[in-house]
Symmetry: C2
Subunit: 537 residues, 2 copies
């Protein structure tokens, strides 16, 4: 059992300083995580702060302290690593989002979400790329080629789902949450297609075949990623249901759910699919089927353990970004021309604002056109909030900028250094300023009374709002089962609410074919010896 | 949100093949972990198998398949990494062991455990070192110096706690479990002192001052490591109790407990203490105080989440060891002289058997001398089982051997290659053969009726056994609180059972000073607004 044994051997042999330095930085990091949790708890009553901004500020303060104590030599304890971010920190956050998402709300707005995520990202990317090309070419920025400008468009049109999760509350503003967060998830698939396109096609020579090809690619990617996530969830549900894991071990069930979810993400990565989309749908399927097959203690454990993972990963990311922001190396190269750096950051922020406005308002208008009932339309105030809440750029943008503009975290080119520092500035500014103002803006534009009715903008009576929406504020599937609410007898209602018909068909299919095989909330007759039953008795 | 974006950029730029290869191996590894869980569940009824042997065998089979498909080029998908093992896999296992250990049983046998762990390891290390020096010097093994022989002693006297957890059952054989597992934990501190001694002192010139110095070092290390773990646990308990975390968030409580436990381990590593000892005591303190301060759902979550982590880490280690065992590189160097390799492995196995026997039986005899009551003595059958159950060598021995005999996983010296392959052989043989036979041996030597009375060897009446032991089979603290059992009025009982007096003093101190500050099982009057209460109501 001699652990420090090996450590001391190592120390005495060769790796001494670097090994011990990494232990020091891990200690510091874990201690800071604890501090963030405690301080975040103490500040919870504060209407301005949230956990991500606390972590970001603590990260910056630590960076300053380290910089001062080391005499300006370094300011960060860990080098920003994309692998750490994409392989370990992001999957639990997105999986938990899928696991805890209000499924009804998400699928009800599925078309709007896809529109925002696919077409919206494309519009935003094009506007930012074009704007950057036109403006930056006239400035003295050094060597940036067409690929760099396209990358800038992709980097700054990536909505940060992690920030969204922090500033929007699923219970208070379910519509906004599902729209902005869902957009971020779909966004991922779009970006893959865009980048594949940029790399494999001749962009200067666009003809309709290529556009068709791109559409084909997008749908292929979207459906295979989703399918993979759904399959992973269903297989887990089937295994746990058929092998009666609950009979023996909560640990096995929890471990299997975690590992299968992670496997789906890694498989998607393996086949160059969208891992985020996959693990998100895996979370949805697991919460719909698998979660109901396990023992009571497994349910509590998975619910809270996944949330805890996601919570720690989020704090970790913000702390990381905050500490990394003050890295001296990058700022030294741009310190001779502070004006240009500020100008570039401001221009990028402006382009982000314009690029997002250019698709949120037109696409909301389109989405409203398709909806007959005024209650289902997205009001202007809601559009404004959607625009605002999606402005934050976070760790994803940082990771992409590092990937595009540095080699192994370092750069010597002035143009690249300016892009890195500008990305950091944009991320910090948007997260802190836009993030701080999101809560007050939501409270001001959408007071609690209204926002709880989610899709409605006019203060009609609660009853009138609730009935056509079939309780959309809560994920109340039992109310929608067809027992409590009379079936719509007139064609008018079917036309007004086509999603309800889809929902009813799905429910019938689910009850007849899916649940008897894969389990699910107590809707089909109980199998007397199912693990769920046993754990309750 | 564009994750595969970065992946594709990376792919197209520079890291393409290596990056994708690591994704492939992670996929394979996660899939194998899932397979181990499912197969382990299916084989649970089998009296011979356990999860670790299943994982080991699956690992070996996978290694064979990979070797055949790649045409003998490589057999493992991940290179054995000590960092992965000591920084990520080991802490959750040891923490969970401390968290779920039967505290009463552990502290009751504390002196015996320390004797086994400290003196026993020293004896075993000396015997194996001397034996190896004498025998291997006469064989043609290439260059091995005195440091290597001492390292061999340390490598093969390290009891593998992870194996112990797998083959011994805390509920069936609590005494054996606490002795063998506790020995493994204390063993760690001993090894640190031994290695410090080997490196800093002139071993050829031993005088009483140095021996005293060594003793001083051992006690310093033991107490500082323990203190650090206890402090980490108490601070967590205090923070959670005082800040009323339960009022708001289960996630925060669970995250804080996990992070503080990990912090204690890393701090111990930072100060060159025994991280295993620290995190073990941190687990004990957290289960005694912290766990009782959190909400009901946090309790269920921590209990199962920690167990799941530990479970997955254990399977991971055995799978890893199994896959790594067939690495062609190492076997190629020794393939010219298979006879020597077999001989070295057999000699090492023999030395392990002798070295362990040389301290288990004498020290048990000493321990029995100190005990007046025949019920508390360790019977010969129990001594035999203790000897047997601690024979397994596992991932710790592998990690140490790699550290001593290779540079970054590779070696060109024949002597070193022989030591590596012999270590692998010893680990595989001891885990599979000794591991497979442990369950039947325990069932044969200590049938359930007897082993449930733990400290007794003669078949006296259950009542006579249970009363003097104060319910040692269960961790029933409430029974021992002094309310149910009359205080011992005669000096004779005090002399017969000195640990009971210690226990009573501790309990008084705990109730008067500790629990009012740090919380704990419902023993002090409830604070009406404590989080525990609120979660129940």
């Amino acid at each position: 059992m001699a652990f420090p044994l090996s450590f001391i051997i190592t120390k005495s042999q060769m790796l001494s300083t670097s090994d011990h330095a990494s232990v020091v930085s891990m200690n510091l990091f874990v201690a800071l995580l604890c501090a963030c949790i405690v301080i975040g708890h103490l500040l919870e009553e504060n209407r301005w702060m949230n956990e991500s901004i606390t972590a970001l500020l603590i990260g910056i303060c630590t960076g300053v302290v380290i910089m001062l104590t080391t005499g300006g030599k370094s300011s960060h304890v860990l080098v920003f690593s994309e692998d750490l971010f994409f392989i370990y920190l992001l999957p639990p956050i997105i999986f938990n989002a899928g696991f805890q998402v209000k499924k009804k709300q998400f699928f009800r707005n599925f078309i709007t979400i896809t529109l925002f995520g696919a077409v919206g990202t494309l519009i935003s990317c094009v506007i930012i790329s074009l704007g950057a090309t036109q403006i930056f070419k006239r400035m003295d920025l050094g060597s940036l080629d067409i690929g760099d400008y396209l990358a800038i468009g992709a980097i700054f049109s990536a909505t940060d789902s992690v920030c969204t999760l922090q500033v929007l509350n699923q219970d208070e503003t379910p519509l906004l949450y599902s729209l902005v967060f869902g957009e971020g998830v779909v966004n991922d698939a779009t970006s893959v297609v865009l980048f594949n396109a940029i790399q494999s096609f001749d962009v200067t020579n666009i003809d309709p075949t290529i556009v068709l090809h791109l559409f084909g690619n997008f749908f292929y990617l979207f459906f295979t990623s989703t399918l993979l996530g759904v399959l992973a969830g269903l297989i887990t549900a089937y295994i746990i249901r058929k092998l009666y894991f609950g009979k023996h071990s909560t640990d096995r069930e929890v471990a299997l759910m975690m590992l299968m979810a992670y496997l789906s993400y890694m498989l998607a990565e393996l086949f160059y699919l969208s891992g985020i989309l996959t693990v998100f749908f895996c979370g949805i399927v697991m919460s719909h089927y698998t979660w109901h097959n396990v023992t009571e203690s497994s349910r509590i454990t998975t619910k809270h353990a996944f949330a805890t993972f996601s919570f720690v990963s989020e704090i970790f990311i913000f702390l990381y970004v905050g500490m990394d922001a003050l890295d001296i190396e990058k700022w030294r190269l741009v310190s001779k021309s502070p004006g240009i750096s500020v100008a570039v950051s401001s221009i990028l922020l402006g382009l982000i604002l314009v690029g997002r406005a250019a698709f949120v308002f037109p696409l909301s208008f389109l989405s409203n056109l398709a909806k007959k009932s005024p209650n289902e339309k997205i009001s202007f105030k809601q559009q404004f909030t959607i625009w605002w809440a999606g402005l934050m750029r976070g760790a994803v943008s940082m990771a992409l900028a590092y990937n595009q503009f540095t080699r192994a975290g370092y750069t010597q080119l002035r143009g690249n250094a300016i892009m890195i520092t500008s990305t950091i500035t944009v991320v910090l500014f948007s997260t802190v300023v836009f993030g701080l103002m999101t809560k007050p803006i939501i409270r001001w534009l959408l007071p609690p009374r209204q926002s709880s009715s989610t899709l409605s903008s006019d203060p009609s009576s609660p009853k009138l709002v609730t009935v056509p929406l079939l309780g959309s504020g809560r994920d109340s599937e039992v109310d929608l089962s067809g027992h409590d609410i009379p079936r719509p007898s007139s064609l008018r209602i079917l036309l007004t609410a086509p999603t309800h018909t889809v929902h009813r068909c799905w429910r019938k299919f689910d009850d007849t074919f899916m649940r008897p095989v894969f389990g699910g909330r107590g809707f089909v007759p109980y199998v007397p010896c199912s693990p769920t039953e046993r754990s309750v008795n």
